[in-house]
């Protein structure tokens, strides 16, 4: 009895399509990863109750597009891309029906927005990215990027990044904005 890697298993399925053996191997492939994908969906959405349903969607999509898997990358990475896209779509549709992502910490946004408002849009994007790299630590940067760039809810970010502080991602947003506000003002003074 030998262990077969995911990639080998897919190759064997492809070499004998529409066979009983192929069906069994594909079932086995997805059984291997079921718990993993449920856990991913939980981390990517922060919603434990919805994670099994999202995982089901991921597997349906994966089955239908298995022929697009390229052997030069890992199967788990390929599966993650599908899961990430599905969870992102779910989060966006949920956000559209509820609230905009920034409202939880909108009270701390005004000062930074005012500091950025004097710049044109292109400069604001460039300056903000530059200052983020200069003054924020990695976690602050990632929380900001996930919340504002990828429209993830704060509770989902807390789960995704494994943050264990009492207020989770919100604390990082507040401190990041405070640092960025000061940095933008300093940058405008110097420029």
């Amino acid at each position: 009895m030998e262990a077969i890697s995911d990639e080998e298993l897919i190759a064997e399925c492809r070499s004998a399509p529409a066979s009983e053996r192929s069906r069994q191997l594909i079932d086995e492939l997805f059984r291997r990863h079921h718990a993993r994908v449920v856990a991913w969906c939980h981390r990517l959405t922060g919603d434990r109750g919805r994670a099994p349903d999202l995982a089901q969607d991921v597997f349906v999509k994966a089955y239908a597009s298995l022929h697009t898997f390229r052997r030069d990358s890992k199967f788990t990475t390929w599966l993650y891309v599908i899961a990430r896209n599905r969870c992102r779509d779910a989060a966006r549709s949920q956000a559209a029906s509820r609230e905009t992502p920034g409202t939880e910490v909108a009270d701390t946004a005004s000062e930074l927005n005012a500091a950025l408002a004097a710049l044109d849009a292109r400069d604001a994007r460039h300056v903000l990215r530059m200052l983020m790299n200069e003054v924020l630590d990695d976690t602050e940067k990632r929380v900001m990027a996930l919340h504002y760039g990828h429209e993830m809810r704060l509770d989902a970010i807390t789960a995704a990044l494994g943050l264990t502080n009492a207020s989770g991602a919100k604390a990082y947003i507040v401190s990041a904005k405070r640092k960025l506000t000061a940095a933008v003002k300093q940058w405008k003074t110097n420029s």
Partner: protein, 217 residues
């Protein structure tokens, strides 16, 4: 609108590599030119740097690989996978999708049906945290309960896997004693893991090694 500047600055744009491309970059599957281009982009793009970090964090620390053994068929080897079968790949996808919808979607965790070979399996433990960089010294280790687990062993280790502290707990989480918290100084990378034990104290699930670090202020 509040925060519109932030959204405009951090939203991925047309210059950003696709998530699929970031995944292939993470796997080392891009050629040198494409790899260099992605690296150069990531350095100046918090959005893509974050997407890549998230991919690595979620795929490497969420759960351990489930060791599964499947009988390799007698005739099959990788090298003999016939090129002609490529044309049938779409068909297998369609058949597989149908198969999945018919057999799997109804039962996400399938019973031990015959797979053409022997299957042995261990469960995995999903970690809640701490993982990665932490603003404050963690006060608790938390994970999701593993089915059938009666108790868990938690270990905290240095990066060279010297054990700093360990304990057993019946619940999927444990408070760190004050003496342990005081050892988690800023800037120090530490490892931890969880093992679940069931009936007869049999090992039934493992988390894999997790990493965290308290960010210096």
């Amino acid at each position: 609108m509040e925060d519109e500047f932030l959204r405009a600055a951090l939203r991925p744009d047309e210059e950003c590599p696709s998530l699929d491309e970031l995944g292939r970059y993470a796997d080392g599957a891009l050629d040198l030119e494409a790899r260099s281009a992605v690296e150069a982009h990531i350095r100046g793009c918090p959005s893509c740097e974050t997407e890549l970090a998230l991919l690595r964090a979620v795929t490497s620390t969420g759960v351990v690989a489930q060791p599964t053994r499947v009988a390799r068929s007698r005739w099959f080897t990788f090298d003999r996978a016939p090129a002609a079968a490529a044309a049938a790949v779409l068909l297998v996808g369609v058949v597989a999708a149908g198969s999945y919808l018919l057999f799997v979607r109804r039962a996400p965790v399938l019973p031990g049906q015959a797979t053409g070979g022997e299957v042995t399996r261990s469960l995995s433990i999903t970690i809640r945290g701490p993982i990665g960089e932490q603003r404050d010294v963690p006060q608790r280790f938390e994970w999701l309960a593993a089915a059938g687990a009666l108790r868990y062993r938690v270990r905290l280790m240095t990066v060279d896997r010297q054990e700093l502290w360990s304990t057993f707990t019946p619940t999927p989480g444990v408070e760190l004693p004050a003496s342990v918290q005081s050892a988690l100084g800023p800037g120090r990378t530490l490892l931890w893991d969880v093992s679940a034990y069931g009936e007869g104290d049999a090992l039934i699930a493992e988390s894999g090694t997790q990493t965290f670090r308290v960010v210096p202020r």
